[in-house]
């Protein structure tokens, strides 16, 4: 295995969680949704509620792998005029008060292509990793090495349809952690099969050196607990974004997010 381990914060986070016998809780929200002044306070609230790693969505005009919830979040954020530069500024702002929690940006390749010096800017802002929904390893080598030069990981996904041979190949190229997609479908879908995921992650765990995080369709503490049986972490996205649809002020939204992740945290730790 040539799995590269960069991004100190991501590796350290999973190590600490493992030592404590826990699972990493990873949250996803879209930057700039429902308003630009919500995101940084929301990141802090999520951490206070028990989140270990923050994923921040880069708003994109054509989010083709997202379900309706995150599509709408992308549209709201773009209506608010969000740009990638602002996303990086939000991370830098967050880093003023938090230097420990890993921050991973998630989005689509065209956003990154539009910023030629993304790796250095992102690294300066305090970003630890990048998940590109539409960038499989075959096309990802150049970006991965540019990110690695700045201490950041490009995180690859493994899907229910990924063949065993391809899984091995992806694992060899993976960095940071492995994002195991729970279901055939878009984010926030409602048809996750816990038994299938548990079996698949059991196999993955045998061969993966890097931590495994399971995401897509995890809505509550019960599902989170079930799906994390053979994984190192779980990702919750649409369920949190759903709590942010109406701009009732950052405070109200932050309280809701805090409560939601605290409940999932408890479910994972019990």
């Amino acid at each position: 295995m040539n799995a590269t381990v960069g991004g100190g914060r991501i590796r350290q986070c999973f190590e600490e969680v493992r030592v404590q016998g826990k699972k990493a809780l990873i949250s996803f929200i879209t930057a700039g949704d429902p308003g630009v002044d919500y995101t940084v306070p929301a990141m802090h609230s999520l951490v206070q509620g028990g989140v270990d790693i923050l994923e921040l969505g880069i708003p994109f005009s054509d989010p083709e792998a997202e379900g309706p919830t995150i599509q709408a979040a992308n549209e709201r954020a773009l209506e608010n005029g969000m740009t990638l530069l602002q996303v990086l500024e939000m991370v830098a702002e967050f880093r003023k008060k938090n230097t420990e929690t890993p921050v991973v940006l998630m989005g689509y390749l065209n956003s990154i292509l539009a910023m030629s010096d993304f790796p250095s800017r992102a690294s300066s802002a305090g970003v630890d990793g990048l998940i590109m929904v539409n960038l499989p390893p075959e096309e990802g080598a150049t970006l991965q090495s540019a990110l690695a030069d700045h201490g950041m990981d490009l995180i690859y996904l493994i899907a229910p349809t990924t063949t065993p041979a391809r899984t091995l190949s992806i694992l060899q190229q993976a960095s940071g952690f492995v994002y195991c997609v729970s279901l055939k479908g878009t984010t926030g879908a409602g048809h996750v099969q816990a038994e299938e995921v548990i079996a698949r992650t059991a196999e993955l765990q045998q061969i993966a050196e890097l931590p495994i995080a399971v995401g897509f369709g995890i809505k509550d503490a019960q599902t989170a607990r079930a799906l994390s049986a053979n994984a190192d972490g779980i990702v919750v996205g649409s369920a949190l974004v759903n709590l942010m649809t109406e701009p009732q002020g950052p405070e109200v939204v932050c309280q809701r997010l805090h409560a939601a992740v605290a409940s999932i945290r408890q479910g994972l730790d019990d």
Binding site: D62, T83, A114, N134, E138, L157, T161, T162, R166
Partner: protein, 409 residues
């Protein structure tokens, strides 16, 4: 009749794409991981089928007896006389069953779906022509068919929506994003990622992830193979210029491809200039776009400084798309094809000329290629020949044209 897949059996210097689906820096496969396996399966099956005598026979049979191929090569004498320059030859794709070249691709892909044992097909459509062509072959082969169409296009193209429904297809309006073709394609990708086990996605143009740009090109290349043979047989020579309109670029790729190694033949693609390139309101990424990634491939794309895909404008719904097939991007960069544009007004003028001089109502998409002919044929010698891909008929555009004329039908 020319063999739709014979290009692969001869040895050629122009061999594109590479095994992993690249046309130089363009093309590739930029998709969610869940779709990779289905794309691998499709590529593998296609490699087998393109040389499979039984598959080829089935395809040829359908193209001949169901679609009505070969389509004629027609000398537009009165248009030629009116323009006073090069002879204008029209490859009459408007005479295909369903009224456009699109059915050549949907027949081929539906046969692939059948071989894969997939009982359901999905498609995206803008103007509705590809949706109609997909609904048509789905009915013919007994496949379940869902067509995604931007909610705005559903309103604008109600005639085609009804045609699809008559043939048993389910038309799903897409209300996300700009509610047009690109959003319909996003939604089709979301459907496919969810139903990949039992569904084949029939992409309607030479875009999308590998192997689609290659497969759609090969099925459309029957246009160019026939036209090349017809030029030699009827005229005794190759054309000096081959002209086609370019949205995603399937009709252009289809007629260009068999001419790529004929170095003396100019290949000209005409994009939708909308209100003019300078206005920014157009759909001409090869003229005024930058390299980007959308819908599974790297190509020229209309996107802003932050990488957001821009909304496009064209009088012709079929050209109203911010991207373009990666092989066109490649042909542009290596200088083998040139890409110009025609505005809405120029296309309308050419539309009317063909109506009145030849008794043919071309599609508004096709009228962009004709606009290039109107502008350039007079500058060429009378001994020169232009081959135009008359990619579709304009019946579907009657309401749009009447609207421009201020007439309520």
């Amino acid at each position: 009749m020319a063999d739709a897949l014979d290009m692969h059996q001869d040895s050629h210097q122009y061999e594109q794409p590479s095994a992993d689906g690249h046309f130089g820096q363009f093309g590739g496969r930029f998709v969610a991981e869940t779709l990779t396996h289905a794309l691998d399966d499709l590529a593998e099956l296609y490699e087998q089928m393109k040389n499979d005598p039984e598959f080829k026979q089935e395809l040829h049979h359908d193209l001949a007896y169901y679609v009505g191929r070969p389509t004629p090569l027609y000398l537009a004498e009165r248009m030629t006389a009116e323009l006073g320059g090069a002879a204008v030859y029209l490859k009459r794709e408007d005479l295909n069953h369903t009224g456009a070249h699109k059915v050549c691709n949907t027949i081929g892909q539906a046969l692939l779906a059948k071989r894969m044992g997939k009982p359901r097909v999905i498609a995206e459509t803008g103007a509705g022509q590809h949706g109609v062509a997909t609904a048509t072959v789905a009915a013919r082969l007994g496949l379940e068919c869902d067509v995604y169409m931007g909610a705005e296009d559903v309103q604008r193209q109600s005639l085609n929506v009804y045609r699809m429904k008559l043939m048993g297809a389910n038309v799903i309006p897409v209300t996300s994003g700009s509610k047009t073709l690109k959003d319909a394609m996003n939604e089709a990708m979301r459907d496919w990622v969810t139903n990949v086990d039992n569904t084949h996605y029939i992409i309607g143009t030479v875009a999308g992830p590998h192997p689609y740009p290659m497969i759609v090109r090969d099925f459309a290349a029957t246009i160019g193979q026939e036209a090349r043979a017809q030029m030699l047989q009827q005229v005794g020579r190759l054309p000096d210029v081959v002209v086609a309109c370019v949205g995603g670029g399937s009709n252009a790729m289809g007629i260009f491809h068999p001419f790529i190694e004929d170095e003396g033949v100019r290949l000209v693609g005409v994009e939708a200039g909308g209100h003019g390139i300078a206005s920014g309101q157009h759909a001409a990424p090869l003229n005024d776009g930058k390299v980007g990634v959308l819908h599974g491939n790297r190509s020229y794309l209309m996107s802003d400084q932050d990488g957001q895909v821009m909304e496009t404008h064209s009088i012709s719904a079929g050209l109203d798309y911010p991207g373009v097939g990666p092989e066109h991007a490649f042909l542009k960069d290596i200088g083998r094809a040139e890409y110009s544009s025609a505005t809405d007004d120029e296309a309308m003028m050419a539309f009317r000329m063909l109506n009145q001089k030849e008794g043919i109502l071309p599609a508004l998409e096709t009228s962009h290629a004709l606009a290039w002919v109107v502008a350039n044929a007079p500058k060429m010698g009378k001994d020169e020949a232009i081959l135009v891909n008359l990619s579709g008929r304009g019946d579907k555009d009657i309401l749009t044209v009447a609207d421009i004329d201020g007439i309520t039908l």
